[in-house]
């Protein structure tokens, strides 16, 4: 049943400073709201807690993409469409463009934001595995100042994260991973259909190859654990490995099988998700061999 619309206060400050002051003055009172593509679904279903919401959607300080030699910095309120259409992201961080393109469909991509996707903290979100695989950093801002934290480890449990009261996600800094420096990117979203589907399993991996071996690798999974999963065992199995090592396939499959903590739910089963996770890890290895 739909919620009672009169039970929701929403304010929309015009500047970031104003928003941060409000959050600092009344701790715990205000829930930030970005593009609304998750919260409004809960609202319609009558599952959004009543109370006070801080619409940050229009804040110009949190929008836009900037590029320097080493990294791309994405404002938290940058939409999926802006990410999907950005030339440097497509060239050097193609998994972010692909994740944006496979989130919902056009009308969602025009409204949904990367920062909102992170703060909504769904384990099934499509961008977080790519952010794990790219070793992204978050800049968090509050009235007290800013701090920067690695994205890996930001989510501490189901819907839990290292975001203090009064803090907003300001921006996401992602190191550039150009193919010319040996980086291989591998992203797969497995859902019921190509668009408008929530993942059964999502897999993102990025490795730097050097002399027939894996010099550096990071891997993230979605929808197989209470948060986006940092695939430490899979990363360990691959780091320093020779791609022509005949035993690598079995090692990679075993690592993926053991580290996912998939469950049965409305979208899939633990058994299916575990098998697909294993298959995707092996497919990534094949992609590395093809690219190395």
């Amino acid at each position: 049943m739909r919620a009672n619309v009169a039970s929701y206060d929403v304010v929309a400050p015009e500047t970031l400073a104003e928003a941060l002051t409000l959050l600092a003055d009344e701790p715990g009172v205000w829930t930030p709201m970005a593009g609304g593509t998750d919260l409004m679904v809960l609202f319609e279903a009558g599952k959004l807690p009543t109370g006070r919401y801080l619409s940050i959607h229009g804040l110009p300080e949190l929008r836009g993409i900037t590029v320097d030699d080493d990294a791309v910095t994405i404002g938290a309120l940058t939409t999926y469409s802006e990410i999907r259409d950005h030339a440097v992201i497509n060239a050097d961080l193609p998994m972010l463009a692909q994740a944006a393109r496979e989130t919902g469909a056009l009308a969602i991509q025009n409204r949904g934001t990367l920062g909102g996707n992170i703060a909504n903290a769904s384990p099934a979100a499509d961008s977080p595995p790519a952010l794990v695989a790219y070793g992204a950093e978050l800049t968090l801002v509050s009235a007290a100042g800013t701090r920067t934290v690695p994205y890996r480890g930001f989510h501490t449990g189901y819907k839990q994260m290292d975001l203090r009261p009064g803090e907003l996600i300001h921006s996401i800094r992602v190191p550039r991973r150009p193919a010319s420096e040996g980086w291989v990117h591998f992203y797969r979203k497995v859902g019921t259909r190509a668009y408008q589907a929530i993942s059964k399993v999502c897999f993102a991996a990025c490795a730097r190859l050097s002399d027939g071996g894996v010099a550096e690798v990071r891997v993230g999974f979605g929808s197989v654990a209470p948060t986006v999963l940092i695939a430490s065992a899979l990363e360990a199995a691959l780091t320093g490995a020779r791609l022509d090592d005949a035993g690598l396939e079995a090692a990679v499959a075993a690592a993926a099988r053991h580290e996912v903590a998939a469950i049965d739910d409305i979208r899939s089963t633990a058994r299916y998700r575990t098998q697909v996770s294993e298959n995707l890890a092996v497919a990534f290895l094949h992609a590395l061999r093809a690219g190395g």
Binding site: A12, M40, F43, L106, R111
Partner: protein
């Protein structure tokens, strides 16, 4: 300090070129504001959760699901609904194409399909089949099986190109 909303607030935006002000709750869905406050019932409600695209409209030039936009986020926005597409009695080429190619049956998805097609053809005037499928992926139809909708998109693309070619030829003749 931001004003704390208590009860209804005034929200002013432009709809189909006309400035409108509504008194509504800040969390009211833009979809309901359009349909109930402004009686613009061409925008339809299907799923109410951003899956079906029946409630699509342009907000600041971007196609969005109006069921997912709280009214307060529409403050100052430029909104274009299906009612604003035709020029007087003359239908937009995409609307005409949906009639000509049989792209509409029950009609609930049609306004969203038409607007998604407009958005698609702005980006891709000669869309491939893959681009058509991606461009309309957020719009569900339970009647047509989609093939006549895809035909309508192609028909519209041809009509728009023919119109542009004619305009270009006309300019050329005048110079």
């Amino acid at each position: 300090m931001a004003e704390v909303a208590v009860g209804k607030v005034a929200v002013t935006f432009t709809v189909n070129g006309v400035e409108r002000t509504v008194e509504t709750y800040p969390m009211a869905r833009l979809l309901d504001v359009l349909r109930e406050d402004l009686r613009l019932t061409g925008t339809k409600e299907g799923c109410g959760e951003g899956e079906c695209g029946a409630c699509s409209a342009f907000v600041d030039g971007r196609l969005v699901n109006t069921c997912l936009v709280p009214a307060i986020q529409a403050r100052g926005a430029k909104i274009e609904t299906i009612e604003g597409l035709a020029s007087g009695a003359e239908l937009h080429a995409v609307q005409q194409a949906f009639i000509d190619a049989g792209g509409a049956q029950c009609g609930i998805c049609t306004p969203g399909m038409v607007l998604a097609t407009v958005a698609l053809l702005r980006e891709h005037p000669e869309p491939t089949e893959a681009e058509v499928r991606e461009g309309l992926a957020g719009n569900l139809c339970r009647c047509t099986g989609y093939m006549k909708i895809f035909d309508s998109v192609e028909t519209a693309a041809r009509a728009i190109r023919a119109r542009q070619d004619a305009a270009t030829a006309g300019e050329g003749g005048a110079s």
